[in-house]
Subunit: 484 residues, 2 copies
């Protein structure tokens, strides 16, 4: 350890202890930025060397972490592996492909989330404060003024060229090099995934889906009449590659829908080596991967993880994305890279919805062009990381023993596991009666499994009301475990 020699310095230890007390007292919480070395030195009348020494001690203990040029931050409590959600017991290769059996409860979940006065742990929506509202206001005004009537005409597929140019530029960061001519603009990521599936799948075809996975993907697979093979997602490394290979070997899998980065609901990232291997496996078994990289820009760490598409030798991965989480949900601007299925997808876009809202495309293009997006993303990444860590710690603190919880590396959702036998649908009804929305695990399963899990959205900050809500949820969970 680089700081070992300093351990002896009692001045360092004294200041470190004071900082630790503040953390224990809750003055600074997981993800919070601590006072700078300079201000600590000034306010506590110690030398800069002592302040640095104290923080280094705390870093060694795993209490704080240094971030490049940003100073020191309270490190979230390390979760022991036995407190992470377990690998789901999805049948995977062993079971036969199934029809999606989830009930139509998406509507209830969505309705409850949008209901006024409900604590918003339900839908994965960033709160108002996180949206770049004043910037968007300015852009709406200026783009319409500069383009006039064009703003209200069709922006026919593939979508506006200025927007496609900017999307192509941003895709470089994901490891993807494409020309604007290879991009088709969609109405968000779900529209992109729908177009991707319909471009080469027929009803009855088999698709591999993750377990758990975002319920919208399951609804779509169901509506398009496809059969699903579930493949488990691991809390750390995303989809289980061995299980995926087994599924590819055992079944006539035509497509595979994966969220490689900051998986919803798991928060996991597929490691780079595994990404490479997954693409190789898909190529070998002639499976087309539909990549949903919706959350990729919302990393908590130092940089954006690459997309699966970055490892595509060609024609294996259809990459889909959206600005719904990174900029604003109401814009409805996403994209798809359909490779050789370009004309098929373009015609499908005409057939299903003709075009996207023109002004939305103009505004996103202008936002990307003016460069404000990176500043905005830097800001909201910090906020989302902090909200997620703080809500996670509150759950760990308040919930009954035996509760397991994910350790997301980005995005803003948590995946919580209760002991076997727990009924998260009952739990969510009880929660909604107390004006708290959550999403039960069954929605994330093709077979209505995962009943003992649920998802918590961290799109809003941990304030007094949501702090109280976590206490209520913890008591409701305990009561159910106690058989009350």
């Amino acid at each position: 350890m680089k700081q070992s020699t300093r351990n002896a310095d009692p001045k360092y230890q004294q200041i470190a202890a004071k900082v630790e007390d503040l953390i224990s007292a809750g003055t600074f919480r997981a993800g919070d930025r601590l006072p700078s070395v300079r201000s600590l030195s000034r306010d506590w009348s110690v030398s800069v060397t002592t302040a640095i020494g104290a923080y280094s001690l705390l870093e060694d203990k795993g209490v704080v972490e240094a971030r490049d040029r940003s100073g020191y931050f309270v490190r979230p409590k390390v979760i022991a592996a036995d407190r992470l959600p377990r690998r789901t017991r999805a049948e995977g290769a062993k079971g036969a492909p199934v029809s999606i059996s989830s009930a139509d409860i998406t509507e209830d979940v969505m309705d409850s989330t949008c209901a006024p006065g409900v604590v918003p742990f339900g839908a994965a929506v960033p709160c108002d404060d996180i949206l770049p509202t004043s910037k968007l206001m300015t852009l709406y005004h200026s783009v319409i003024r500069s383009e006039g009537a064009t703003s209200f005409q069709y922006a026919m597929p593939p979508g506006r060229e200025d927007l496609r140019i900017e999307i192509a530029k941003r895709l470089i960061e994901c490891g993807i090099a494409v020309s604007p001519e290879e991009i088709i603009v969609t109405s968000g990521a779900m529209d992109a995934i729908l177009l991707a599936i319909k471009s080469f799948c027929e009803p009855g075809d088999v698709v591999a889906v993750e377990s758990p996975t975002y319920f919208g993907i399951l609804s779509l697979v169901k509506e398009l009449g496809l059969k699903a093979i579930e493949v488990p997602v691991l809390a750390d490394d995303g989809v289980c590659v061995d299980a995926l290979e087994e599924a590819f070997k055992s079944h006539p899998v035509k497509a595979c829908i994966l969220q490689p980065n900051f998986h919803n609901p798991m928060g996991s990232v597929i490691p780079t080596d595994s990404k490479r291997r997954i693409v190789e496996l898909a190529e070998k078994h002639r499976v087309t991967i539909i990549e949903d990289d919706l959350y990729g820009d919302l990393f908590f760490g130092a940089k954006r993880p690459p997309a699966l598409k970055a490892f595509d030798p060609g024609e294996v991965v259809i990459h889909c994305g959206s600005y719904s989480k990174a900029l604003a949900p109401g814009l409805r601007v996403g994209w798809i890279l359909p490779d050789s299925r370009y004309h098929r997808v373009k015609n499908l876009k005409y057939a299903t919805s003709i075009a996207n809202a023109t002004v939305s495309e103009m505004v996103v293009a202008a936002f990307l062009k003016t460069g404000g997006v990176d500043r905005h993303l830097r800001k909201i990444r910090k906020i989302l990381a902090q909200q997620t860590l703080q809500i996670r710690e509150a759950i760990l603190r308040e919930f009954p023993e035996g509760t397991r919880i994910s350790n997301p590396k980005g995005g803003f959702v948590l995946w919580c596991e209760m002991p076997d036998g727990f009924d998260s649908e009952k739990f969510s009804v009880a929660a909604l009666n107390r004006k708290i929305s959550i999403v039960p695990g069954t929605l994330f399963s093709a077979t209505c499994g995962l009943r003992n899990l649920f998802r918590i959205s961290c799109g809003s900050p941990l304030d007094e009301r949501s702090q109280r809500a976590i206490g209520i949820l913890a008591r409701l969970a305990q009561a159910q475990l106690d058989g009350k």
Copy 2:
């Protein structure tokens, strides 16, 4: 005839002849407003009585028509019945249901229409001058300013309540009484029709479609894997009711997609009695009608024709509409009335695209609420009627003998029929080489029939360039007929 006694007055006749000369000379063209009685009296130094008398004479002759409080207008030349397009020889009840065989040429048609410098007789899009641009600019600015961050959050299905209230109010004019709770907002009419079909049809099901019909409907039917029975559309009265009944009797028709008002491409309106009968037939044969009333507000006559839904005793008609033609295509705001399939459609909306662009919904709601829409519609109806009539007359004047053309009662497209053997696909390629877009008839047929017909959009005015384009088209058509 009410004016018969005036026929003798030579002063009236003299003035009438002068007006008629101006019309013959092209100073005033079909649909144009003529000088008011007052200005005629002043400018030509005749009494007001004489001016009225002259116009009355011309009215009797069928040369001009009086419109309530708007004065006198040049009446389009009456088209003899033998110059209207003939009933299509769709197999209808006799043939077996077919899979849609149209090629994916929608893309070429759409691309060519949007290409700069092309005379826009292709896509049915109103030109920039017809859009309420300055009003929309103001509204975008004001609604975002008043709603702030809400403008950029999801407007979850069923869509914003303020918009649904305004849509419900406007539906009264179509003869429909619904509460805002029965409406789901969609991303235009195609999204609505997609949701309608998917809410109760499975791949392989049989739907009755009109022949001709809008090619987007055929693409959708194809993409959803449905089989089609074609039912002919008559130039005056829309879908042939007897043929429809035959189809209902002979085949297990599950759904029937109809454009009752200002049919695209025919421009026809189903008479009220026939509407009533169609709904009765559908109920009797347990067929669900999907009504596409996209053009209903764009009538040339005195009032809006009722929707099929107006005659629905309940659960027979799913009504779909949009503001894409009446306000602006780029807004992407439409609606659906799914009746008892409400929850099914709402869940489908989540599964396919989650939500519409929020600001678009806000802007349309505000536009409808402030009452500017009726004034706007009054203005554009006149313009579109005039453009359509003038382009029609130019085609009748320039095109080879044997050309038949529709007599639209609203909307802004013309349906042109050439003698048998004419190849409109070849014709459209030749036209595009001369930078003129049209849509070949084969696109409007489930079976790639209707090869000797084509559609002309009248979304832009008949100016010098388009006048010249009609001359070129006429020569290209003649050349093909001459076998050159």
